[in-house]
Structures are given as structure tokens and as C-alpha cells.
């Protein structure tokens, strides 16, 4: 079973780097690096495994809290088998 999930920004800032180089990711993998408005670097992670289906931002893009950074498919079957 697969469900569509948006990966959203937890803070305001600028996309410093996209860390997920393959479309497949695991729980706690760092997917994005954001330089917050306070100047701190913050990693974006999710607590499930899945596949990135599309990126909505690029390095240098300004983002804000709640903005969709990417769309992913959460593989619940894989999670159940873990």
C-alpha cells in the first residue's frame, strides 16, 4: 500500500542543499538542508521510508513553514515488513 505525502518545510529560510541524491529514502534520512532566517542550518527528515516523486524546490529557493518541498510516496507495505 502506498500513500502520497507532501514533505513540508519546518521553518522559514533558504534551501542550502538537497541531500537526498536518490529518490529512495529511509526514516531519519536527511532530505534537505535549510539555512533558516536565523542563519542556522536545519536538516529536514521524515519518519517513514518511501520514494520522492517530485521536487518542488531548488537550492537557493526561499521557503517558509508549511511550504511543500517535495512529494513522496510512503511505502506502507515496506514499513509493515520491517
Amino acid at each position: 500500500m502506498v500513500i502520497q505525502s507532501p514533505i513540508v518545510s519546518p521553518c522559514c529560510g533558504i534551501i542550502e542543499k538537497i541531500l537526498c541524491h536518490t529518490s529512495v529514502f529511509q526514516p531519519k534520512d536527511s532530505l534537505f538542508l535549510i539555512r533558516t532566517t536565523d542563519g542556522e542550518l536545519r536538516k529536514v527528515t521524515v519518519d517513514y521510508s518511501g520514494t520522492i516523486t517530485s521536487y518542488e524546490v531548488r537550492p537557493g529557493d526561499e521557503v517558509f513553514t508549511g511550504m511543500v518541498l517535495a512529494y513522496s510516496e510512503e511505502d506502507l507495505t515496506a514499513a509493515e515488513n520491517e
Binding site: P6, V8, G66, M67
Partner: protein, 704 residues
């Protein structure tokens, strides 16, 4: 036509220097449209009455005057063959044969003459057909009596469809009626149908009494209008299709203008997001709604700021979550023209995900518990018991298994100490790690140290050149079962003590200590305390091992465990050899009565022996009886009587003692009778008699 005073209009003149009053006076007196101007007796030209009224000053007479030089004139008796040539003139002067102007004709006079003449038809038809406008002449009855080809083309009709047909069938009935009733000219009436696009002027035909005798409809073809009409129709259809498509879309679609105002929405609604009817918000500014806290953030604002597609998760103050994707639409100049927002409720998705996570957590927990139960169940298949004594030990073992405390299992040989040691391993957190057993009494003393602690390369002659990892390191993070610990040589006891104290081992030939994490379960059938007293076992090691002492009682002290154990061994046998051998109830009674000096191991052997040697599927008591190692009376001594007693009384006393002893030892009258060498009925009768006698004695004692 001959022009006479009767059919031409007289010339009314004013002097070129006439005052306004004189001019107006002449005009009012004669009610003519044209007034001629003379200078002395010579006609100079003419002016239009309407120009005089408009100009209103005599000084302007010359300015408004049309000189006679430019006016067409004919001689009175001159035939005019081509009247149509005069149609375009306002005024035509009539001169007499002397060339003197004697009157004039107006355009309408000429037209009347044209109509009167036979050739007028083709002139008018030519006129009608040559002008690029449609003309329809309608009589007083409202019927179309004349029309031109251009008109037919414009209204896309054939001749037969128009001639004598009610004009209202083709044009606007209301307008036609209005012209007939009011006599007014109605201009620029758009007449648009899916196939026709025309602009029509409705002009009345008035008689001299200003009554409407008919009307002329002048039609202009408007191909652009027609095209627009058709495009409009196409757009209407597209709009209809678009609405149908939007109504089937699951997402809520919002269209917003560049000011952030909501223009239109589709029929899909996200329940509970807008706090009311969304249609009520049409015209409202979404950015303002964000400021009011209805939701945040506003995707419309983000698109307005960024001028590109933005996706965002919006949340209302009531916690409703919506995934909104805002797409900008630009005009031909590249300016932002519209924002189309597609929103989808993800509240349920989020909730479902959370619930799913909770379910997964519970599932994991249940899985763990299930595994634990499976382990217990698997263990229970090996741990066969029903006695309270073993039940109590198992409760202790479950507790001990959760920790790494050292356990000392004591008990006679064959009681199943190893089974209990394995239970400690299976029930604890080390169950996935190794369980190693070493029999301290079975390995030669000189090898035991290297087996336990391992050795380094070249530690001694004959050793493996690669060295060896001892049992302690192999059992790291697991359980090491040291069976027959009482057989451990004193020299190794001290080394074992060090391992238990320091939790590290030093391989033979090595100088480096290696930390180990091992739970020690030791077992012995010997009395270690006595060995300590006798100096055969180190006292400090005894206490180090005896952290959790567990004594496994012999089988004779828990006869209730015999039947389940016997069934278990027999079932294993049946499964292994696909047999259906059963135990007879009296055979089971016999097994319960047996003291089992060899404990569980002996029981297992007896069951196997019985199963092998039986000829029937049911193992009878007799068969079992012969397999058991009953203790024979060591010496058949003759009973010694030292006092002289009455013979019968003595015989009765001896008989009673013998029966009680036999019943105590062999439990059943059948077996007791067999051992006493009398019939079962005899033993049963006498035993009942003895019991009654004892009961009477007790009752008597209680009375006194």
C-alpha cells in the same frame, strides 16, 4: 413630362440683405424647405430652411447659400429621358424657353415621377441590388413586399421564404410594432442568432398626414458579429464543458485575480475549511482572510509574491489541513492575470497516517508479546509439569531470565537441570544470543582451561596455530551453562571465580584480559556446601555461583508430574515412529506409585522401553510393572516375636501391619495383593476393615 405651373414648385425669394425677421417671415408664410436669394432681380442661389434656423443670422446667408451655378436645371418643355440622373439632386431648376427660372423640383418630386414612370422598377431594383446593405420594404400589414439580394444573403434566406412573409417572423416583432405605433425611426438594432448576425435600422414610411404606411428595414451584414456570436456559442459550450469537468474534479478549485480576490470556485468543497459557504467569499480578498486568521499561510499571497507555482500545506485555526497548489496564469504581456488554486483535504490522510503509526506501534508490541508467548509456549512443550513445586520454580526462572544474575541449579541427576537452564536462556533478553553447555566433569582437567577461556597462538604444543576462542567468548552476550560444576578442579575454580568477579577472561598463554558479557548458569547434583566443608570446593566460588540458587525436586516428590511427562514422552515416540500407542489408566497409576530414583530420565527410558516392547497399542499395568526396578526386600528375614502373646491376636496384628505397609508402598490393592501373594479382594476387604477400625479408634479417642 411637361413642366407647368401646376406641377412645379414656385420660387420664393428674399433679398440678399434681408433681415432675419424677413427671412423667417417668408419661410413661415410659404412653409418651404428651400428659399432662394436674389440680388436685385437676379437669382443668386438658394439656402435650406433648416440652415437658416440653425444659422439664425442674415450675415450668414451667403455662407449657407448654394449658388445656382452648381444646380441642375431643365427647360420647361424638355423631355427628361433619364430621371434617375436627377435623383441625387436636392433641387432641380425649371426654366422657361427664355431661360428664365420659373420654378423648381425637389428630390422627392423627382422620385415620385420615377415611381410613376414604367422604367422606375428597374431603376429601383438596380439601386436596391447595388447597395451593399440589405433593404426590406414592409407594407402596412407588416408583410415584406420588397427586398434586395444583399438582404437575402445577410439573413440567409431564399426569395420564397421572404416574399409576403410577416417581417416579424424574420426581424424583431417588438421593434416593428414600435415603429408602426410611434412612427419613430429605430436604429442599430442587433439581431444575433447562431447563424445570423445583422445590424438593422427600422424607418417608417410616412404619408403626408404622418401616418405610417409601411417601413423600410435597412440591414447591415456583421460577419464579425456573426463570428463573435458563433464564438460566443462555442465559448458557452466550452464553459458548460468546463463546469462539468470542474464539478467532477475531486479538488476544490479557486480562481483568484491579481489583487488576491476570489473570482470563482468549482462545486467541490473541503468540509470545515472555510467556516461557511464558500460562495459567500467570492469577491473577498484571500490575503485579507489569511490576516484575519481563517487559515495560514495563503498560497495566493505566495504566488502573488513569487509569480510562480507554489505548493503549501494550509492549516485552519480549527486544525484542518489542506494541501493547496497555486498556479499563476499570465496574460500575453507576461503580467499575472489569474491564480488557479487546487486544494485537497489532507486532514484525514494525516490522521490516518498517525493512526497507522499507532497501529504499527501496537502491532510491533503485539508481535513482541506474541513472540514472547510463542517462546513460552515452545518452552512449555519442553517444560512438562503440573506440580506446584515446579510451577514455583518456573516463576522464579521467568524473573531470573530478565537479568544476568548467576544461577545455581541443584538437584538429583536426571531431574532436568539442563532444561531449566535453557528456559532461563529462552525467556530472557539473551534468547537471540548463544546458549553454550559445557560439562565440567566430561572434559579432561588439562583441556578444561583452554576450552573455557581459549588460548593464544602457540600457547602450547599441539595447539591450533590460529589460537582458539574459549566458551566464555563464544557465549558472549548469551548464556553459558556449566553442568556438573562440582566436578570443576580446584585449580580452575579460582580462574572461574576471577571471570565471575571481573567479567573478563584471559586466554591461555595470553596476557591481555578480554571483557565478556555472559550469564552463568551452573548446575550440580552434588552437595556443594558439604564439598566446601570438606575443602573440595572453594567457598568464595560457591557463594559467587549461588546468587540465585534453584533446587529442582526429584520426581518422587512431585508424582503429579509423572502422567504429563509420561504422555509427553509417549507422544514424542508416536510422532517419531508414527504409532498410536497409549497408556492404560492402571499403568499410569503404577508409574505414579514408582519412586523414580533415576528421575525424569528414568521415566523417559521406561516409556521408550514400554513402547518398544509392547505388542499391543495399549500398554497395560502388567507390562509396565515388569519394566520398573522395584526394590526387593533386601533379605527375607523371618519376623521375630520376643514375647509370648495370644496367637490369633499376634497373627491379626502382623496381618494388619503387612497390609498397611503394602498399601503405603504400592498405593493400590491390586499391587499390594500381588506383593503380599493373596487375592485383591482379600486385601481390599481386610484393608477396609482396618480403616474402619482406625476410624472407630479415633472417634473413641475424641470422645474421651
Amino acid at each position: 413630362m411637361i413642366f407647368t405651373k401646376g406641377n412645379i414648385r414656385p420660387i420664393h425669394t428674399v433679398d440678399s440683405d434681408a433681415t432675419d425677421a424677413e427671412v423667417i417671415n417668408v419661410l413661415q408664410r410659404h412653409k418651404e424647405r428651400f428659399l432662394f436669394i436674389r440680388d436685385d432681380k437676379e437669382l443668386l442661389g438658394y439656402i435650406r430652411a433648416k440652415d437658416i434656423k440653425e444659422e439664425g443670422a442674415s450675415s450668414d446667408l451667403f455662407a449657407a447659400m448654394i449658388p445656382l451655378d452648381s444646380v441642375y436645371s431643365v427647360t420647361g418643355d424638355q423631355e427628361v429621358p433619364d430621371w434617375f440622373q436627377l435623383m441625387g439632386e436636392d433641387v432641380v431648376l425649371i426654366r422657361d424657353n427664355a431661360g428664365k427660372t420659373c420654378g423648381y423640383l425637389r428630390r422627392d418630386d423627382i422620385l415620385l415621377e420615377l415611381l410613376r414612370q414604367d422604367e422606375s422598377n428597374h431603376v429601383f431594383r438596380t439601386i436596391l441590388s447595388s447597395i451593399p446593405m440589405g433593404i426590406f420594404v414592409v407594407n402596412q400589414k407588416g408583410e415584406i413586399i420588397h427586398y434586395n439580394d444583399a438582404g437575402l444573403r445577410m439573413i440567409k434566406r431564399e426569395k420564397g421564404e421572404v416574399k409576403n412573409r410577416q417581417a416579424g417572423d424574420i426581424f424583431e416583432t417588438e421593434t416593428i410594432e414600435r415603429v408602426f405605433s410611434t412612427g419613430e425611426t429605430v436604429l442599430n438594432q442587433l439581431h444575433v442568432t447562431p447563424s445570423v448576425g445583422i445590424l438593422a435600422d427600422y424607418s417608417p414610411i410616412l404619408d403626408e398626414d404622418q401616418e405610417v404606411k409601411g417601413l423600410i428595414i435597412v440591414v447591415q451584414d456583421l460577419p464579425m458579429l456573426e463570428q463573435m456570436a458563433m464564438e460566443l456559442d462555442t465559448v458557452k459550450n466550452l464553459n458548460k464543458d468546463l463546469r462539468a469537468i470542474l464539478s467532477t474534479v475531486y479538488d476544490e478549485i479557486l480562481v483568484v485575480n491579481p489583487e488576491g480576490e476570489l473570482l470563482r470556485v468549482n462545486e467541490s468543497r473541503i468540509s470545515g475549511f472555510w467556516e461557511g459557504d464558500l460562495n459567500r467569499l467570492i469577491g473577498k480578498n484571500l490575503v485579507e482572510l489569511e490576516k484575519q486568521g481563517l487559515f495560514k499561510p495563503s498560497v495566493a499571497r505566495m504566488v502573488l509574491e513569487r509569480k510562480r507555482k507554489v505548493s503549501v500545506v494550509q492549516e485552519t485555526r480549527r486544525g484542518r489541513k489542506v494541501l493547496a497548489v497555486g498556479n499563476p496564469v499570465f496574460d500575453e504581456n507576461g503580467e499575472l492575470d489569474r491564480i488557479v488554486i487546487a486544494s485537497r483535504d489532507i486532514t484525514e490522510t494525516s490522521q490516518l497516517r498517525n493512526e497507522l503509526k499507532e497501529m504499527k506501534r501496537l502491532s510491533e508490541q503485539y508481535k513482541k508479546e506474541l513472540n514472547h508467548l510463542k517462546t513460552k509456549e515452545s518452552l512449555s512443550r519442553n517444560m512438562i509439569y503440573c506440580s506446584p513445586k515446579i510451577e514455583r520454580i518456573m516463576r522464579d526462572i521467568e524473573k531470573v531470565a530478565q537479568y544476568s544474575s548467576t544461577v545455581l541449579l541443584t538437584g538429583e541427576s536426571g531431574v532436568g537441570k539442563e532444561v531449566f537452564a535453557k528456559a532461563i536462556h529462552r525467556l530472557g533478553p539473551r534468547s537471540q544470543k548463544p546458549f553454550l553447555k559445557i560439562n565440567c566433569g566430561a572434559i579432561p582437567e588439562n583441556l578444561l582451561e583452554s576450552e573455557l577461556f581459549g588460548y593464544e597462538k602457540g600457547a602450547f604444543t599441539g595447539a591450533d596455530p590460529k589460537g582458539k576462542t574459549g566458551y566464555f567468548r563464544q557465549a558472549d552476550q548469551g548464556v553459558l551453562f556449566l553442568d556438573e560444576i562440582g566436578e570443576l578442579p580446584l585449580s580452575l575454580q579460582v580462574k572461574l571465580l576471577r571471570v565471575l568477579q571481573e567479567r573478563e577472561v584471559t586466554p591461555v598463554g595470553g596476557i591481555r584480559s578480554i571483557p565478556v558479557d555472559v550469564q552463568i548458569v551452573a548446575a550440580t547434583n552434588r552437595n556443594l556446601e558439604q564439598m566446601v566443608e570438606e575443602g573440595d570446593f572453594r567457598e568464595d566460588l560457591f557463594y559467587r555461583l549461588s546468587v540465585i540458587p534453584l533446587h529442582v525436586p526429584p520426581l518422587r516428590e512431585r508424582p503429579e508430574d509423572v502422567p504429563p511427562l509420561a504422555y509427553h514422552f509417549l507422544q514424542n515416540w508416536n510422532q517419531q515412529y508414527e504409532c498410536h500407542i497409549q497408556l492404560a489408566p492402571d499403568a499410569l497409576n503404577l508409574l505414579e506409585a514408582y519412586p523414580w530414583p533415576g528421575n525424569v530420565r528414568e521415566l523417559q527410558n521406561v516409556i521408550e522401553r514400554a513402547a518398544v516392547t509392547t505388542d499391543k497399542e495399549m500398554i497395560a499395568a502388567d507390562h509396565i510393572f515388569h519394566l520398573l526396578q522395584w526394590k526387593k526386600p533386601s533379605v527375607k528375614r523371618k519376623p521375630m516375636i520376643t514375647n509370648v502373646m495370644p496367637l490369633q491376636e499376634t497373627l491379626n496384628e502382623v496381618e494388619e501391619q503387612l497390609i498397611l505397609l503394602a498399601m503405603e508402598r504400592y498405593k493400590t490393592t491390586t499391587r499390594a495383593a500381588k506383593m503380599l501373594g493373596v487375592s485383591q479382594s482379600s486385601v481390599s476387604r481386610k484393608y477396609q476393615k482396618i480403616l474402619q477400625k482406625e476410624a472407630a479408634r479415633k472417634e473413641e479417642g475424641a470422645r474421651f
